[in-house]
Symmetry: C2
Subunit: 481 residues, 2 copies
C-alpha cells in the first residue's frame, strides 16, 4: 500500500475509532446478533481480485460492530470488566506498526529491555521484592502454565529430559481453592499431570481456601505416597474476588517445600494501593505470581505478567537454543525465548509503559480506588433492598448478589431460574451486560466494575434495570415461585 | 483521555508511522545499541505523577527506534523475513481499539465467526479438505503444543484425567526430522513427555526426513515397548526450508495409526500457488497442520493457524466450562476457549481477513512468487561465484550458502569463523541483516526473502556487501585461512 494510501486510511480509521469511543453508549453492550449472522454476511471464499480498502472499512460498521460485544462500553459489568485505555490503544498501534518479534535480545533490544524496565516499575509499585523478575506472556492461562511447569521441574528434577511416562514417578498433586480459576485445571492437563492431580480445597464462608483443609489434604496425600507439586493461592477469585490467606499458605508451602503460585491476575494490581496493603502479605514468599494488566490495569488485551524470584527454573525448564538462534550475545543478555514455550513474542511492554506514564502511579491508584468505591456503592443499594441479597463480601470492585422473594431465600431451582431470567432481561436491553456465577450452590448475579468509562450513573442505571426486571418478572412469574 | 486528545495523538502517531515506513531504509536493520542501553535511558521507577503523552511519543524516536531491529526494513533477510503489511497494521489498530476478548461466542460473535470465515478462506486457498477446521493461536509454538496435546490424547486416552505420572504408561515417543523446529522440543517438554521422547530422524542430502530411517525407528521403538504418539513432518524447515515427503510419511502414520502433525508454519502458504501444488501432497492426510500468516502472509505479529480435521480431539483435551462461563449458547456455538489452553484471545482474524481482501488471492500469489523469484536470482549469483557455494536447494525464498576459499571447501573451524565474520561485517553496515545456521556440520549464511518492501536492488546490495566483506576479510585474515 503506498504511504499516501496508508495515511488516508489510517487517519480515517483514527476518526472511526474516536467516533466509536464517543458513541460507545449507542451500542448494545452484549451483541444482539444470532449465531451464524456474521458467517452468513460474508462470502465463503476469499476474493480472487483485490478489493478497495474502503470496502473493508465499511464492513466494520456493517458487520463487525453490530456483532461485537462492547468491552469498551461503560455498562459492561460481566466477567471482569476491562479497559483498553487510550494510551494503551495508541501504543498498541505503534507496536503493530513496528512489528517487533522479540524472541532474541538482538531481534528487538527495545522490546526486550523495555519489558524489563516496565515490569521493574510494576513490581516496585506493587511492593514486590527487588529480586523478583518478570516476563510478559499473552494470557494468565499461559503464565500459570509456565509457573506450574517450573513447579513440576522442581518436584521432578529430570522431568525436562525424562518426562513423566514410562518411569517410576509417584502420583503428583497440585492444590488450589475450590474457587480457583479454570486455567489451573487446563495447566495441569496440559502439563501431563492429569486433571485428577488437581485437588480443590474447600473454602470458608468468605470463599477463601481453608488453610486447615489444605494442611489435612497435604498430610493425607503425603501418607498415600502422593508428591505435592504446587499450591495455587488466589488473590481475587473469579467468582467472588475472595482472597486466600497467602501468608498462611506461604508458611505451609515453605515448610513443606512446595512451589507457591499466586493467581493475582485480577486483584494483584491493588497491591499498589496503600489501603489494600493487606493483600501484599505473603506475596514476598511466593515462587510465582501472575498479574494481568489487561484485566485491571487499563491495558488492551493481551498482556499478562508472571513475576518470579525463580526465573532460573523457568529457563531451566524451557531454554533451548538451536544453532540458527545463537547470537554473539547469547549468555550475556536476556533472550525472551528462554523464558517459555513461545519463541516469538509481540512488543507488548510498550502499551503498559505508556499507561504507567500517562496516568502516573497516583492516577492509576485513584482509578482503582474509584472502581472499588463504585462497587461499594452498588453493594449498599443491594444491602438496603429486601428483594435482593448480597452473597459475598466486596473486597474490590465486584459485587455478587441475587434477587430473592420474601420467604424464598433458600437455594431453589426456581430462584436460580429467576435470577437467570433477570440477567437475561437486563442484558437484552443492551444498556448493561451482567454475568453470573455459582456460590454456595446458588446462581448469583455478578456485577464487575473495571472500565474507566464507568461512572456512578451507569451503576444507577444497572440498578434501575435490575429493579425493573425483578418487578416485571415477579408479576409475570409469581405463580411459578 | 478525552476524545479530542485521543484524536490528536492518534493522528500524530499515524504521521509518525507513515514517516517511519517511508524512512525505513534510513534505519540500521539490526539495532546497533549495546546491551543495557535502553534500560539505562529510562528511570528505574514509574512516575508518580502523569506525564504528557507527547513525552511518551518523543521517546519513540529517542529510545525505541534506535533500539529496534527493523523487521519492516527491506534489507531484513535474517531468520524468516516477515511483513506487517499496511492493511494488516490498519486492522490490528482497529483490533486494539475494539479490545474484543473472544473467549466465548457471546463475548465476541464478530471475532469468533470472522475467525471461522477467514480460516475457511485460507483453507480453500491452500486446497485443504473441506472437513478441516481452523483455530488461531498466537504462535506456531502454541499451535504445535496443541497439536501434540491432541496426539497425546489419542495415544493415551485417559491422559486428560489421569495424566502420565504414577501409573503404568509405556515410554512415549514423537518423531521428527533432525531439521524440525525447536518448538517441537518445547512442546514435548511442556506436555510431560520429556525431551528424550523426541526422536530426531536423520535427513537425506536435500535435508528432508529419511522415510526409511523413520520406518526403522518406529520398528525399533515398537519392539522396545515404546508407544509412538506423533510424527511431525515439516514443509519448509527453518534452516534450509527443506520439505519432508509428507505423502510417504502420511502413509506410514496411517498404517501405524499415529497422529501426523505438519509444521508448515513458513511454507504452508505456498500451497496457494499452482506451480507449488507438489507441496499439497499428503496435507489432506494430516491430523494437524500449522501455518503462520505472521511469517509469510504479510500479517503483523502474532497470528498462527492450526488446521485440523480432528478439532474434536483438541476440544476433548481442553474444553472445560466453569459455571461463570456457561451461556445460553453453550453447545450451540463455537466457543474459542474450548480449543485450547488460553481462555482469552485477541481479535486476530480481523487483520488476516483484511489482508486477503486487500491483496486478493491473485495478489497474494503474485507476491509469494516474486519472493521466490528474488531468492532464485540471488542463488544464481551465488552459484556463479567461485568464492561462494550454495549449500542447499532453494525451494522457496531462502538461500543457504557460504563463503569458501579455493581449496578450502571442506568443513573447518576456520571457514566457520570466516563466515561468521562475514555475517557480522555485513550486519554492522546496518544496510542488511543476515543470520546463519548449521548444515552438514558447517556454518552457513542464510538469506531469507519475505518482506513486501524488498526489491531486486536490496538483493543486489546484499550481494555487493557480502562480496566486499569477503574481499576485506580475506585480505586481512588470509594467513589465518
Amino acid at each position: 500500500m503506498p504511504p499516501e494510501e496508508f495515511r488516508r486510511h489510517a487517519h480515517a480509521l483514527v476518526e472511526w475509532a474516536a467516533g466509536y469511543f464517543e458513541q460507545i453508549e449507542t451500542h448494545a453492550v452484549l451483541a444482539q446478533v444470532a449465531p451464524g449472522d456474521v458467517r452468513r454476511a460474508l462470502p465463503d471464499r476469499a476474493p480472487e481480485h483485490p478489493e478497495p480498502f474502503e470496502q473493508v472499512i465499511a464492513d466494520l460498521d456493517r458487520i463487525i460492530l453490530p456483532a461485537a460485544t462492547h468491552w469498551n462500553h461503560p455498562g459492561f459489568f460481566a466477567y471482569f470488566a476491562i479497559t483498553g485505555s487510550a494510551p494503551g490503544v495508541l501504543m498498541d498501534m505503534v507496536s503493530s506498526a513496528l512489528n517487533q518479534q522479540a524472541m532474541l535480545w538482538r531481534t528487538s533490544p527495545a522490546a526486550t529491555e523495555l519489558e524489563e524496565v516496565t515490569l521493574r516499575w510494576l513490581a516496585r509499585l506493587m511492593h514486590l521484592p527487588d529480586e523478583i523478575e518478570g516476563v510478559i506472556y499473552d494470557t494468565a492461562s499461559i503464565s500459570t502454565l509456565h509457573a506450574l511447569a517450573a513447579a513440576r521441574e522442581v518436584a521432578v528434577p529430570d522431568v525436562r529430559t525424562r518426562g513423566l511416562a514410562g518411569r517410576d514417578v509417584p502420583p503428583l498433586r497440585v492444590y488450589c481453592s475450590e474457587h480457583a480459576h479454570s486455567s489451573v485445571d487446563k495447566a495441569v492437563i496440559a502439563l501431563g499431570l492429569g486433571h485428577q492431580a488437581l485437588r480443590r480445597i474447600p473454602a470458608d464462608d468468605r470463599f477463601s481456601m481453608r488453610v486447615d483443609a489444605l494442611e489435612a489434604a497435604l498430610s493425607e496425600d503425603r501418607a498415600a505416597g502422593i508428591r505435592p507439586v504446587a499450591i495455587v493461592a488466589t488473590v481475587g477469585t473469579t467468582s467472588s474476588t475472595s482472597v486466600d490467606d497467602v501468608e498462611a499458605i506461604a508458611a505451609i508451602a515453605k515448610r513443606e517445600q512446595i512451589w507457591l503460585h499466586v493467581d493475582a491476575a485480577y486483584a494483584g494490581v491493588m497491591a499498589m494501593v496503600p489501603e489494600f496493603a493487606w493483600i501484599r502479605a505473603g506475596l514476598d514468599q511466593a515462587d510465582s505470581i501472575v498479574v494481568n494488566p489487561h484485566k485491571w490495569l487499563f491495558t488492551p488485551f493481551d498482556l499478562s505478567v508472571l513475576f518470579t524470584p525463580r526465573m532460573d527454573v523457568i529457563r531451566q525448564a524451557f531454554s533451548l537454543t538451536p544453532e540458527y538462534l545463537k547470537t554473539p550475545e547469547t549468555g550475556a543478555v536476556r533472550n525472551l525465548m528462554d523464558t517459555g514455550v513461545q519463541l516469538g513474542r509481540r512488543f507488548r511492554a510498550l502499551k503498559l509503559w505508556a499507561i504507567l506514564r500517562y496516568f502516573g502511579a497516583e492516577g492509576v491508584r485513584a482509578r482503582l480506588r474509584e472502581h472499588c468505591r463504585l462497587a461499594q456503592l452498588f453493594a449498599s443499594w443491594v444491602d438496603e433492598d429486601p428483594d435482593f441479597e448480597r452473597v459475598a463480601p466486596v473486597p474490590f470492585s465486584v459485587v455478587c448478589f441475587r434477587a430473592i422473594n420474601a420467604g424464598q431465600q433458600q437455594a431453589s431451582p426456581d430462584l436460580d431460574a429467576f435470577n437467570h431470567a433477570i440477567i437475561d432481561r437486563v442484558n437484552k436491553t443492551g444498556e448493561v451486560f451482567l454475568s453470573h456465577t455459582s456460590l454456595n450452590g446458588q446462581i448469583v448475579i455478578r456485577l464487575a466494575v473495571g472500565n474507566l468509562r464507568t461512572e456512578e450513573r451507569h451503576l444507577r442505571r444497572a440498578w434501575a434495570l435490575l429493579r425493573e426486571a425483578l418487578a416485571q418478572h415477579s408479576s409475570q412469574a409469581a405463580p411459578a415461585l
